[in-house]
């Protein structure tokens, strides 16, 4: 079953005199429970593509055209209110910078619970807290009760990224967009987060769109991969095929540049 279908997605900056295309005619599909890697160097448009799918493009500066069909709805055409109903409920995002992605003046528990607070008003405070604690435990944080009452600055970067994952998963989304989730973390923590994401994919059946500039990571985590360059898709297919026998010149160069590191 397809859960996401992107068709001819084009993103333009419109605060310049001339419209500048950051993403051009990007099309791809995602199945339920699939892990799809989206790789490319910085400026390739991979993050903008992800933000467009998440409905988080700064509309003052960017225009998006084409279709992003998620749950049968075109994310680019539905009204904001309908989009908000999907955000944080059916579709969640984790970001690159766990140090700044959490509100510094709000307790962890409240932030993890927030998607439930917004989308599942029927739950009582106690039920929300129970779910949040459960998720803090599922993302392998020790002493969830203490973390629940902490503030972000009291946790390390790796712990905060786990908190972000708990908050993203608390409402059981169908799609998780992970925008360079491990780039800001050191290598051991990186490996733990990757394993955690894979386990969530397996157990919760959540589809993961994994954006990274790090090909060796994508190689480990995703079944399928899309390679982007200068706003367009260069190559896509099964990760194994793309990495073992790349067709395009750019992909060949990228693959040749992967350092051999195994976890």
């Amino acid at each position: 079953m397809k859960i996401l279908s992107v068709k001819d997605l084009t993103i333009e900056f419109h605060d310049h005199k001339l419209p500048e295309r950051a993403v051009e005619k990007v099309s791809f599909d995602m199945d339920e429970g699939e892990v799809l890697g989206l790789v490319g160097e910085s400026g390739s448009g991979k993050s903008l593509t992800a933000m467009a799918i998440a409905g988080l493009l700064p509309r003052k500066r960017l225009n998006a055209f084409g279709e992003i069909i998620f749950e049968g709805k075109d994310m680019l055409k539905i009204p904001r209110s309908e989009l908000r109903e999907l955000q944080g409920d059916e579709l969640s995002v984790i970001f690159q910078e766990p140090m700044t992605a959490l509100n510094p003046t709000m307790r962890i528990g409240k932030q993890v619970e927030e998607p439930l607070f917004i989308h599942h008003k029927e739950l009582s405070d106690a039920e929300r807290k129970a779910k949040a604690l459960d998720w803090l435990e599922k993302v392998e944080l020790h002493d969830p009760e203490r973390v629940y009452h902490s503030y972000p600055h009291e946790l390390s970067g790796g712990m905060r990224q786990r908190v972000m994952i708990a908050s993203a998963m608390v409402s059981d989304p169908k799609l998780l967009i992970a925008d360079e989730p491990t780039t800001a973390l050191d290598v051991t923590v990186q490996a733990q987060i990757i394993k955690l994401l894979l386990r969530l994919n397996l157990k919760q059946k959540v589809a993961i769109l994994f954006i990274s500039h790090d090909l060796s990571l994508v190689k480990q985590i995703s079944e399928n991969v899309i390679v982007m360059q200068n706003g367009s898709i260069v190559e896509k297919g099964k990760t194994k095929d793309v990495f073992d026998s790349p067709v395009e010149e750019y992909t060949k160069k990228l693959v040749a540049a992967i350092p051999e590191v195994r976890f």
Binding site: L56, R80, G88, L102, Y151
Partner: protein
């Protein structure tokens, strides 16, 4: 334990500050020219009478001795006797405290209650007409001094709309509602420039916060723009404002002199002004000590409040 330690440390700093202020104030009256005994008796007093009075007032004793005896009696709550009125300083000041307290309280309340929604609306329409228009009006309000706004209010609300009798101050112990209504107008006049400054500060503080990563996270959870504002941005944006507001409270108490003159209100500012003119130094010293106390206490309060809002400040 660490909390107790912090409290003791804070209290120590407060006491030290007050001690330094008391010394500075007392020393200042020693340095500036003018003889309280002479000003009390007049220039044609005989040297004998002058010497007798100076002895009676303790002016013939060494400075340090006088300072410590004054400090000691201050600690007992005795600030001496006014040189020009012959009443105890504390009785003179205490009767004026409610006036200044209400004036300051109203002004601060107006500043906070008005500036928050105005700044929030401005940032909601940032760069659009409402924002630009309000920005200009705000700049205008900021540049109008309180006393001039006070004169305009007296003319417009007092003389044209006849909402209150210009200069017709109503004492709080005679007619409390009348007093509160009368004091409202000078309070607004004092609040206006402070409010404009708050709006400017808060607007830029909100815009700065709105650019931060956690705001994007909040949107990604399905918050609407206003939910992001009230649940996430505003609390963070208010942190610098707390300090500004607490400082402006101290500023209002000391700076109310002019507005009290315009509205004929017998507050602390007026007593300070007249006692400086008359070299009534026991009164001046007491009022300045009071202002110093307010400044120090407001500082402490803003520290506590900031720590309450921003948990990062605790460590």
């Amino acid at each position: 334990m660490s909390l107790l330690k912090a409290v003791i440390k804070k209290l120590g700093i407060i006491l030290l500050t007050l001690l330094l202020v008391s010394f500075a104030v007392y020393a200042a009256f020693e340095l500036i020219p003018g003889d309280p005994a002479l000003s009390k008796l007049g220039t044609d007093a005989t040297p004998e009478a002058l010497a007798a009075l100076r002895h009676e007032m303790g002016l013939d004793k060494p400075f340090i001795f006088r300072y410590f005896s004054w400090l000691l009696s201050c600690l007992k709550g005795d600030f001496g006797i006014s040189l020009s009125y012959g009443r105890t300083v504390s009785s003179m000041i205490i009767s004026r405290i409610p006036v200044t307290v209400f004036l300051t309280l109203f002004s601060t309340l107006i500043t906070v209650v008005v500036s928050i929604p105005v700044a929030v609306l401005m940032t909601k329409y940032a760069g659009r007409f409402f924002d630009r228009f309000t920005y200009v009006v705000n700049q205008l309000v900021m540049s109008v001094p309180s006393f001039f706004a006070g004169i305009l209010f007296t003319w417009f609300f007092g003389m044209i709309l006849k909402l209150f009798k210009p200069g017709g101050y109503v004492s709080y112990d005679k007619d409390l509602p009348g007093f509160l209504f009368y004091i409202l107008f000078p309070s607004i006049a004092v609040a206006l420039p402070k409010c404009a400054m708050s709006v400017k500060l808060l607007r830029s503080s909100i815009l700065e916060e709105a650019d931060k990563d956690y705001v994007r996270t909040a949107y990604s959870r399905g918050n609407s723009t206003m939910q992001v504002m009230y649940r996430h941005v505003l609390k963070n944006a208010l942190i610098p404002l707390v300090t500004f507001w607490s400082m402006s409270v101290a500023d209002m108490i000391a700076g109310a002199i002019v507005i009290e003159q315009v509205f004929n209100i017998p507050g602390l500012g007026r007593i300070l002004l007249s006692s400086i003119q008359n070299r009534d130094y026991p009164v001046v010293e007491a009022v300045i000590m009071l202002i110093a106390l307010v400044v120090v206490v407001m500082n402490l309060l803003s520290d506590i409040l900031c720590k309450k809002i921003d948990p990062r400040l605790k460590s």
